[in-house]
Structures are given as C-alpha cells and as structure tokens.
Amino acid sequence: MTVFALIVINKAGGLIYNKNFHDGLNKISTNDYLVLAGTFHGVHAITARLTPIRPPAPPAGLRPEQVSGLEVLETENFRMQCFNTLTGVKFLLFTDTTQTNVDVTIRKVYDLYADYVMKNPFYSLEMPIRCEMFDRKLQSYVREINNR
C-alpha cells in the first residue's frame, strides 16, 4: 500500500501544490502539472453537470447540496481520489490500487491544510503553497502510512 502523490488545485483551476511521495514515478514537467490541474478542473466541472438524478429538494431554509462530480478514478496501476472542499479547493491523492481508507487519509490532508496553510499569516489565498510546516507535517504523515 502506497500513497504516490498529492496535488492541490485552487477554485480557479490553478495548481497550488504538488508533491511526490514515492521514488520511481514518471517525472512530468512543471508545465505539464499546470496543464493537468487545469484539465482536471474542467473535467470535474463537466462531471458535476452529468448527474442523471435530480438532487432531492433541500429542507426549507438550506442551500441545495453541492453536486459532487468526479470522486474516484481507477486504472490498472493507480487510483486517484478527489476531495472537493466547500470552498472549491480540490485535493487529488494518487495511491496504489490496494490502498484502503483513502477518504480518511484525504480528510487528514485537508486538516493539515486547514491548520498549517490557512492559519499561516504569510500565505496569500489562491497562491502556490510554500509553507515549510505543511511540507513537514504532510511528509511525516504520509511516511507513516507508507510504512504501515
């Protein structure tokens, strides 16, 4: 069981963070990462519109629930889970196909983001994440999972 990589996309479809946790992955250029993030953002928007079922009417006084769009993508070699926050930030976690409880892992990554990125006065919203603390905590959390 391995976590391969993490990508974070802001609400405008820009890449704000990417990190590899595993040696021996195919390297792609920074430019390709940006294209990947933008493309995924578009695909996600389309999938959210594709829902064939009309969402149930929300209880009075509440907003309708957000349509989730693409959540998991699985191939022979990897599995990608997407977590879309209420503010439109997307976390993409690439793992191997046998990885379990990815939704718990991705929630924890979101926790780390909320703590070490959002509470950092030097981070400007929607910009690339350059927070040493976030890097460190994420690294040690993923290492813990990969060594399990």
Partner: protein, 212 residues
C-alpha cells in the same frame, strides 16, 4: 434597593469583598474546567495581528518591533494579575533577576501556554555575561506559522518577547527582550530563544544588592 446577593464583608461603604476572598480577578472570565481557549481561534487572531503589523512596516526588524509593542502592554498587566492571584504569603514582586526569571518561566508561561518554558540559561558568552535566555522548544504562537524564505530572520514569537519585556519593565527591571529561532534538527524545528538583555543599571544594582 435590594442588597446584592454576593456575600459581602459587611462593612458599610468601601469595596465589597466576597466572604471567600475571591474577586473577579482571581479566576479567568471563562469558567470552563480547564479555562483554556480554542487554539484555532487564537491562531486566526494572532495571524491577523501579524498581518496587521506587516501592512505598516518596511522590514523584518520593524515588524518584530511592532509585535513586541503589542505584547508589552499584556506583560505589564499580567505581572500584576498573576501576583494578585498568588497566595497572600508569596504575593511579593520578584526583587532579583533570578526570582524574576523564575516567575516568568513558570507562572507566566503556565498561565499563557499551560506549561513551563523548557529551559532558563545564563549567557556563556564572555562578552555579554549578563544576558539571560529563556528557551521554548515549540512556542505556541508559532504553532501554525511558516516564515517565508525572504524573511527567514523573522520570529513571530517577538510578541511573546514583548510580553516578557512588559513583565520585566513592570517589575522595574527594564531591558530588551528579543526572540530568535534556533532550529534543532528534526526534533525541534521551531525552537526559540528569548534573549533578555537588562539595562546596565539593573545589572549594577543586582551586583550591589548581591554583595550586601
């Protein structure tokens, strides 16, 4: 007019003191068991304080100075408050440097951060033999803060340094307190040293009092 329900000492006029001697100054306003506040809300508030200070300054030094000033007033008040809460027997102000530093390391730190500071040291540098250092391995105010590379000398614990300076000033030990990052490997990446430089007259007075 009806009498207030608070039991009073019964004297007419003057200050009424509850019979158990506990006034509103004796305990925190928030009455939960541990009297703690949410770390997240503090982190957001402190983040805004840093941003506020940052908008009005040119360099790192000025920013630290501003944070220092923000903390100073808190320190002055905390000295009085914490001494007031001590049991009457030990309710006196620290009169020498060591007692003061010990008060800061234990009482002040415990009140603010719910634990004592990690170490207290006297400078080993022969050029500044009268500097003191309070060492905190993981300052609470920096828990969620990563300083950008272009401001690497900044340490937001300058705010805490300001509080310490306020306490020293209030106790009539004027001096300068600064916060410095001294990362210690993987274990304590946020280790911070609060360097306390007392003014020369304080050091002189201490030497004079020490002799008698």
């Amino acid at each position: 007019m009806s009498q207030p329900s608070v039991p009073s000492s019964g004297k007419d006029g003057g200050l009424r003191v509850p019979s158990n001697g506990k006034t509103i100054y004796h305990r925190p306003l928030n009455r939960t068991k541990t009297a703690e506040i949410s770390q997240a809300s503090f982190a957001y508030l402190f983040g805004e304080m840093v941003t506020y200070a940052q908008r009005r300054v040119k360099g790192v030094q000025e920013l630290e100075q501003r944070l220092n000033v923000q903390g100073h007033a808190i320190g002055l008040k905390l000295l009085d408050l914490l001494l007031h809460r001590e049991p009457p027997r030990s309710q006196h102000r620290p009169t020498n440097i060591l007692a003061l530093l010990h008060f800061i390391r234990t009482s002040l730190w415990t009140h603010l951060f719910a634990r004592a500071a990690d170490r207290l040291e006297k400078s080993a540098d022969p050029e500044n033999p009268d500097d003191y250092m309070i060492i905190d391995n993981e300052p609470l105010v920096n828990a969620f803060i990563s300083v950008p590379k272009d401001m690497s000398s900044l340490n937001c614990a300058a705010f805490v340094a300001g509080i310490v300076e306020g306490v020293c000033d209030g106790a009539d030990f004027p001096g300068k307190v600064t916060a410095h990052s001294v990362p210690e490997g993987e274990m304590w990446p946020g280790k911070t040293v609060f360097l306390i430089k007392f003014r020369s007259e304080v050091v002189e007075r201490e030497a004079y009092l020490g002799k008698s």
